[in-house]
Amino acid sequence: MTPLAGLVACVAALLGTAILAVLNARSGRSTPVVYGASLVFSGVALVTALASLAAGLPSTGASALVLPVGLPWLGSHFRLDPLAAFFLTVINLGGVLSSLYALGYGRHEHAPHRVLPFFPAFLGGMNLVILADDAFTFLISWEFMSLASWALVMAHHHDASNRKAGYIYIVMASFGTLALFIAFGLLAGPAGDYGFAAIRISEHPPLTAGLVLVLLLLGAGSKAGLAPLHVWLPLAHPAAPSHVSALMSGVMTKVAVYAFIRVVFDLLGMQVWWSGIIILIVGSGTAVLGILQALMESDLKRLLAYSTIENIGLIFVSLGLALAFKANGMGLAAALAMTAALFHVLNHSFFKSLLFFGAGAVLTATGERDMDKLGGLIHRMPVTSIVFLVGSVAISALPPFNGFVSEWLAFQAILQSPDLPQWGLKILVPAVGGLLALSAALAAACFVKAFGVTFLGRPRTIAAGQALEVDRLSLAAMSILAALCLLAGILPGIVIDGLAPVTLSVIGDRMPVQTDIAWLSIVPIAESRSSYNGLLVFLFTLFSASLTAYLIRRFASRALRRAPAWDCGFPETSPATQYTAGSFAQPIRRVFGTLVFRVRESVDMPAPGDLRPARFAVEAHDLIWEWLYLPIAGAVGFAAEKLNYLQFLTIRRYLSLVFLALVFLLLVLALWS
């Protein structure tokens, strides 16, 4: 029973649970059964994948399996190599924790029969995409994943915006899949040998390689949420139930990253260097645009969805760097950049799932997603707020958590850029570095806003005032993720060495071994160049904090008195005077918004003595939506309107159509040489 066979069995079990869930969707107790089953199966898959990754599968002799399903003359191929093992770990870890979370959260779902059958199917689909080793199996599981997540987004279909989000999502997913159809059509060639092994061997001219890369950016990029194709993500992810949004944001976007790495790095092999430029520009643009949108949001789940877009931008910047270094033969630097990307994939799946779980907990407790109606939850939901705080600090890339380590590795990779021969890259990389730094700082501000407005201050509505802590299972899932964030931040050496076989199989090179460096610090290139020790920084801070606390407790006074807030002498101000999400982002909106979103603020102050209330309105435009998507929709509508007349013609006019077709064809025959 090889690990691969075990994994395929787990996927089959997941799909089986889905079918069973369809059959008895109505019965009350099916919720714990389905989520329990998916917890168990994802758990088994997680252990298998982790074991095979740790055991260090030889990247060449990875185990392969062929089933008689799929394309009739090809069968469907499955393969487990280090890259697949790593992404399976990420997916199934997400699966386990979201099933655990759902065991508690699922009870509040008022239409379980619309969520239960599709959740295990969604997990099974994602696992299948990673295991697939031929174009057809890959694409059928890819599109099946989209279909299952579309059904989950449509779970709460009574809300018109959810239906609209579901529609836009499935249409863009289909656009992405058609792009992938074309890409694999080009890769397979006229003979139509769709197996990945055959594609790897066959030689691809540089033009096709470039075209396939662009198509991958369209296909996988639209699923991950790269800039121009990201509009569906902030609509669809929040529309799904929270444990599904966590899976979609934290895990499904990683499946898209896997698809990009598998085709561009593994199947295509050598790439031209300028393809790195495209990815760097798109990645950094996505990062900055995504986080600026997040800052403007006041809906908690949409804010998290936009922040996913920013993190995906970071990952693609690291991938772009890896591609540029690999194209110029700088193996070590490419391995460093790829490790940074993979590390951030792991980190993002941790803290984004954690944050979405937190948002789900807030939604269950208060029934509200809009931050301006929350506040003061830290008093009512202590554990959730601590865990959400850990997630926010981690995502803002602050030590000692994991977000900082992958950010630090990315910066070290950027600092390798002077050795790049091409001028274009030499100039572009520092600019991209600047944009990354800007997006990191904006992320920190965004999550100060997210945590501050939601959890701190005084409750702005009665619902926020009467919130209750969520159940133990959800808290358990969130606490595990928080612990993982801290562990990955403190012991990065172990994670980097775990990623080594993956970078070896994809780039052909690896980072120097980290675990045997003294004091568990990590040294990407050389001791003198740079090193970082998460553990010592964490312990050093704890030591000095406890030392200070002890000294103060020992020598300073311990007197403490509760009193109404000072607030510069203003008595009992109402909770409405607190800063809301919009007002917190107002300075940043004034700095960046005028350029990116054409923000116009209009203040209508009535003359003194005039009883009219003062009005303040902010008008912002999502330029990509207005300049790219609305014109396309308009054009299709216009064409449909114009063609619609053909439905209401007289019989005579239809006959003249036939007549013209006949005359035209006869003319072609007459003129044909």
Binding site: V393, L438, S530, I552, A563, P564, A565, D567, S583, P587
Partner: protein, 318 residues
């Protein structure tokens, strides 16, 4: 034996850093007063303030949570750690290998993060004003700081402060335009980070203009003492950072005799005094900007940082 002496030097550095910080703040206030032809309080007045605050009773707002009470200790501890890593009188400190320049910036980022949260915890509008303005300033200051670090890392080939200091004293550095631009950018960022005159007035409590003060409005007693100490420690940190990178002479290397450390300590005190005096001079010469002209000021810093990095890339020599 070497490890123990290194530990001794490291703990000496930590002690020195904490003790000198209030003195530096007092010295700057004294210089500013004398420039304005005022007698001004004595240099050791900050010590008295801190001790007074330590003895006073903490008045806590009803809506304040546990985060409000933990933050002062956390901010002071992180700033202290960051200050302990930056070489002041000696390079090659035992802890300096745990975090490089990017990590130090990130540590300072987390202090800002928690301070902003503390500002919003009590739920008053002034805390909100402080936090949102601090967030806006941070979104521009941190990228400029990182771009300065890129420039230094590309010139010195490392982000480790000890290596940079060693490189700066070596003959290879020579006079570089990008280093000069980086210095200016670093000074602008330092001024913004510490809330000095052009960005924020540390002396006044005027609600509309303040940024740093608004966040700590609700603090009192020993918490306020911790925050005041952390603020002055941060000022010392930035001045010693500039000194270590751009004025690295007379830094005692690892393992040299006590005489080298004495010389290093003396040189460090002179650098601090010079830095403090220059800052005081700079502050009395300029007036505070309106809050929404700060983005242009910091935008300039960001552009200078990017220019320094690009110039550095364009040719090895520049």
């Amino acid at each position: 034996m070497v490890v123990i002496s290194a530990l001794l030097v490291q703990s000496l550095q930590m002690a020195v850093v904490v003790l000198l910080a209030p003195l530096l703040t007092g010295f700057i206030r004294l210089i500013k007063a004398r420039l304005l032809r005022r007698r001004g309080p004595s240099m050791i007045q900050p010590y008295r303030d801190i001790l007074r605050l330590l003895r006073k009773e903490v008045v806590l707002a009803e809506s304040a949570s546990w985060l409000f009470r933990v933050t002062p200790y956390l901010i002071f501890a992180i700033t202290w750690v960051a200050a302990a890593i930056i070489p002041t009188f000696a390079t090659g400190l035992i802890f300096s290998w745990t975090a490089d320049l990017i990590a130090i910036t990130a540590l300072l980022g987390s202090t800002r993060f928690f301070l902003a949260l503390a500002g919003m915890d009590v739920g008053t509008s002034f805390g909100g004003i402080g936090s949102s303005r601090e967030a806006m300033i941070a979104t521009l200051a941190e990228p400029s700081m990182l771009l300065v670090i890129f420039t230094l890392a590309l010139i010195a080939g490392s982000t480790q402060l000890s290596t940079i200091a060693a490189f700066m004293t070596s003959p290879q550095v020579g006079l570089r335009v990008s280093l000069a631009i980086a210095l200016i950018a670093l000074i602008m960022v330092a001024v913004a980070e510490n809330g000095r005159i052009p960005i924020d007035n540390p002396a006044t409590h005027l609600e509309l203009t303040m940024v740093h003060e608004a966040m700590v409005l609700e603090y009192s007693g020993r918490h306020l003492a911790m925050i005041e100490l952390a603020a002055s420690l941060k000022l010392l940190l930035y001045i010693s950072l500039i000194a270590c990178i751009f004025v690295p002479w007379k830094l005692a290397a690892l393992g040299e005799g006590p005489s080298a450390y004495l010389v290093g300590m003396l040189a460090y005190l002179i650098k601090l005094a010079a830095g403090g005096a220059l800052l005081a001079l700079f502050e009395t010469a300029t007036a505070k900007m309106r809050v929404f002209r700060v983005p242009e000021f910091l935008g300039a810093a960001l552009m200078l940082g990017l220019l320094a990095t690009l110039l550095r890339f364009v040719s090895r020599s520049l």
